[in-house]
């Protein structure tokens, strides 16, 4: 875990999302499923964002502008600089035999990096609309379903599932595929185990998602 002030290199809109590229400076890009805390200009707390892509010397984040923090991030322009802390948490185990990436909505954010590291395994992505589905272009080998169809209705059996998406989606994936790896979300103030804000129930106890996760085994 390191903190650095990184230059914004690019900001490109993809459907309703924004792909923000920063120069990664001295920061290690980490593993797929890990995340960084990004300074959201003008806000008190940073925001957790999964690494979406990590080409040499860069880090890219795919961000959905849903509130004040993400809106501030999506308004960044090339030349701006923000403080970034990471990599943080535990990402996906990549020692899997028949990987299937499953993502829903902005939950696809960590999957391009996973896909790259796993050599473009099959992916199943669900979106609310064709517009949102534009982001599927970031992931090769992807089948896309649009609501009212849900990814969990189209999920083939017999795979090692690596999933990220809204909570109801993850719950259904967990039920269908008990040894899936699931990337969860929780509000985070610090991202490195200091605030105890991100507590979620893990094995019947409240534990810090930023320390134990965000990727957890389904069972």
């Amino acid at each position: 875990m390191k903190r650095a002030r990184l230059k914004v290199l690019g900001n490109e809109q993809i459907g309703p999302y924004f792909l923000i590229r920063v120069g990664c400076g001295a920061l290690d890009p980490g593993c797929p499923g890990q995340f960084f805390m990004l300074e959201a200009p003008g806000r008190v707390l940073p925001r957790p964002m999964s690494v979406c892509l990590a080409p040499a010397g860069e880090l890219a984040f795919l961000i959905d502008p849903i509130g004040p923090g993400t809106r501030a991030l999506c308004a960044l322009e090339p030349g701006d600089a923000i403080h970034v802390l990471g990599p943080l948490g535990h990402g996906f185990r990549l020692d899997v035999e028949r990987p299937l990436l499953v993502g829903g909505g902005i939950g696809i954010a960590p999957l391009p990096f996973v896909s790259e590291r796993l050599g473009a395994p099959p992916a199943l992505l669900g979106f609310r609309s064709e517009w949102h589905a534009e982001a599927a272009a970031l992931i090769p080998n992807a089948e896309v379903v649009i609501e009212p169809t849900y990814v969990t209705e189209a999920m083939p059996a017999g795979h090692d599932v690596l999933a990220c998406g809204p909570e109801p989606m993850l719950e259904t994936v967990r039920a269908l595929s008990p040894d899936a790896q699931l990337a969860w979300e929780a509000p985070m103030a610090c991202g490195y185990g200091a605030c105890y804000g991100c507590a979620v129930e893990i094995g019947g106890e409240l534990k810090r998602l930023c320390v134990e996760g965000p990727v957890l085994a389904a069972a």
């Binding site: 875990m1 903190r3 805390m37 300074e39 806000r43 008190v44 707390l45 940073p46 509130g67 004040p68 923090g69 403080h83 802390l85 929780a186 509000p187 985070m188 103030a189 610090c190 490195y192 185990g193 200091a194 605030c195 105890y196 804000g197 991100c198 507590a199 979620v200 106890e205 409240l206 320390v211």
Partner: protein, 289 residues
């Protein structure tokens, strides 16, 4: 000039490098029994601060003493243990079980339902139970915090920690329902700074014991202000969440600020907000920490 963390704002076992950059590490508040804390959502950002309703999540006294404290000791830096409870004897029992640490009595957590017993009574019970240094951590949610400060000094407190969070609430922008599951939470961060300064300033006049100032410190300048108001040490809370490098940065900034103002050490600036026009100190007599 000592730099600490605010209780509950750092875990030295998870982030030892952050703790090492401080002069001492303050634990999250320990209660007699283990507590999971409140149900999530437990944190929320506001425009100028944050809210938390962690609810004293902690492993409980026994597990803390047996499993956590030994690991903390291995790290080798000075320890402050924050002690909580729901009755004076609960506090006192934890104090009696501690050794070779400074104790901070959390008399002011806004995130539990039980009303606190009289602060002075708790301090008195703990004073009888231990010879360790005892700091009383007070809430700014009092008509006159200096009254409480005088009372805990009389009851045997060796120092004050000022301030804890104050109760606040935020609503979800879409649903207009409380963002925190618990409803309200403790308000900390930049918005708290003037409230913290007022408490430190008032208590520095009302008592003779040293004060750990905290509340909204982000920069060395903020730290210097608390020192000027009368603090002998400064603690970093919310700022650690956005900047784990804050200890070193704040210390460096503080050095620059105080030397630019002609002070040989931050300590020399202590209480200068109380100086009269004639340049003499007014009735501040806080001891050195």
């Amino acid at each position: 000039m000592l730099l600490l963390n605010g209780s509950g704002c750092l875990d030295a076992l998870i982030a030892p490098d952050v703790a090492r950059a401080l002069d001492a590490f303050v634990t999250k508040t320990i209660t007699p029994l283990p507590r999971d804390g409140n149900a999530p959502v437990r944190i929320a950002e506001t425009e100028h601060g944050m809210l938390n309703a962690i609810g004293l999540a902690n492993p409980g006294r026994e597990k803390f003493l047996d499993e956590v404290l030994p690991h903390l000791r291995e790290l080798g830096f000075p320890l402050w243990v924050s002690v909580g409870g729901f009755a004076a004897d609960e506090y006192a029992e934890t104090c009696a079980a501690l050794d070779d640490v400074t104790i901070e009595l959390n008399l002011s957590c806004p995130n539990v339902d039980e009303a606190p017993e009289s602060a002075a009574e708790i301090v008195g019970a703990c004073r009888a139970a231990t010879d360790l240094p005892l700091y009383a951590k007070l809430s700014p949610a009092a008509w006159d915090v200096a009254d409480t400060a005088r009372a805990v000094e009389a009851a045997g407190a060796d120092g004050l920690s000022l301030v804890n969070t104050i109760r606040g609430l935020s609503l979800d922008e879409r649903t207009l329902r409380p963002t925190l599951e618990r409803g309200s939470g403790g308000y900390s961060g930049p918005a708290l700074k003037p409230i913290a300064l007022a408490a430190v300033y008032a208590c520095a006049r009302a008592t003779t014991i040293p004060i750990v100032g905290m509340g909204g410190v982000r920069t060395g300048r903020d730290a210097l202000e608390l020192i000027a108001a009368g603090a002998s040490a400064v603690a970093l809370g919310t700022v650690l969440f956005s900047d784990p490098d804050a200890p070193l940065r704040v210390r460096t900034e503080l050095d620059v600020e105080r030397s630019a103002r002609g002070f040989d050490s931050a300590h020399d600036a202590r209480g200068i907000a109380h100086w009269t026009d004639a340049g003499q100190r007014a009735d501040v007599h806080a001891n050195v920490l």
